[in-house]
Symmetry: C2
């Protein structure tokens, strides 16, 4: 519980490598996590070599963390292995559809989070690279991912060079509902976001970005509509190309 | 690490309730987990009342675990709260698209897995209900989920009545690739699945289902193509209805 409560996202790492034995220990814990029907519909691609990490970095917009971490670990939705097994066993796989993609994407994400918690329990630091679903086409190319494999998320992993302050979070009541979803009101939104908006680093962040409100930093700069729509198109095209979206399912 | 390595999925629970203080502790650990841009794009709906659990059970095909567990916890992708905040802060949200759905679905799944690990660390048992993405329309109705909220996964939670044997898993080398994806060969598939196929409960399971191979139990009975295609259609319709798929993104 202390590991979970005291964690911080790490964006700056020392040059210390992660020992193969330790990495194996993390991976052995990872594959114990829940997976749909015990099908293990994911693959984990561990990138250690600098050349490959440099080839991946543009897919992560060359974020410093993507170049600075000694390891990048890409978690992929994977029906390729399962399909091959089925075909070798006189079984006809029926997984060329969106529901199967979502199942495998969940399996991959559950594995990724278990891996992160195992790493943090061992004193390592992690950072999720959300850019993986923005540029899956580039990652597919660098990592040589076949049909029915789609990268879902990437974990930067290493020993922390600095331990930053913990991020602020919304109060628990902002995200937890009992029995059914309790609609938000203008008053409840004001109350639930008050602490976040008053948090000094957020005030400074809003000012540095020349915005009137913190929300505008998100909508206008960090996650603007045009980008979201562009990367939606890229991701959907990748799902089609990798075999998970077709006219029957759309 | 012991919690991660020794876990089992629990499908049978005692009648002991989960104390609200303990549940709060699990939820407090959950909201520390990684979330895209610290936007916390998820909501957690905790169902304690028997009437609501009974109303949810058909969405989970009345699996015994969905009726037997004292708590059902539904993790939802949620852009509703964030959108409302933006609109109250002179910011124009641009999240009515597929990429934003995937971002929120990842946030929800990361939170779900943190919740599960916290629960297991406290001696509770969990079971993922993968049926959530099959019948999201029914869950939306029972839990009163507004536009821009989609249920992603449901955790059954309680005190284990029985601790089953740990499931078998594929060997680590089956799911881990170094540097790039290493293509499988007919020989490697045979080798990687050999232990799973020889595992006595799987041999029995294949026989009970009158199938020649274990793979056929998956393709013909557990996850057949017609079901996957039907539930793909349902899920895509729900994404449209909840605002995440539109002509621009398709």
């Amino acid at each position: 519980m202390d590991t979970l409560l005291n964690r911080r996202t790490i964006r700056s790492y020392t040059s210390q490598t992660v020992a193969p034995e330790l990495l194996n220990e993390l991976l052995a814990a990872t594959i114990r996590s829940s997976t749909t029907g015990n099908m293990q519909l994911y693959s984990i691609v561990v990138t250690r070599e600098e050349a490959t990490r440099k080839a991946l970095a543009p897919a992560h917009f060359n974020q410093p963390v993507s170049l600075n971490a000694p390891l990048l670990v890409t978690f992929c939705a994977d029906f390729n292995r399962f399909n091959l097994w089925c075909e070798q066993r006189q079984a006809v796989p029926g997984y060329a559809n969106f529901q199967s993609f979502m199942t495998a994407a969940l399996d991959a994400t559950i594995a990724a989070q278990t891996f992160c918690i195992a790493a943090e329990a061992k004193g390592l630091g992690i950072c999720y690279l959300g850019t993986t679903t923005y540029n899956p086409d580039k990652i597919i190319e660098v990592l040589n991912l076949p049909r029915f494999v789609v990268p879902i998320t990437t974990i930067a992993l290493g020993y922390p060079a600095q331990i930053p302050e913990a991020c602020e979070r919304l109060p628990l009541e902002a995200v937890v509902h009992y029995e059914a979803y309790q609609p938000y009101t203008p008053e409840s939104i004001d109350r639930l976001y008050a602490e976040k908006e008053a948090y000094a680093p957020n005030v400074q962040f809003t000012r540095e970005n020349n915005k009137e409100t913190l929300a505008q930093v998100f909508t206008d700069i960090r996650y603007p509509q045009a980008n979201n729509e562009h990367f939606s198109h890229v991701l959907l095209e990748v799902l089609k190309g990798q075999g998970f979206l077709n006219s029957e399912t759309l």
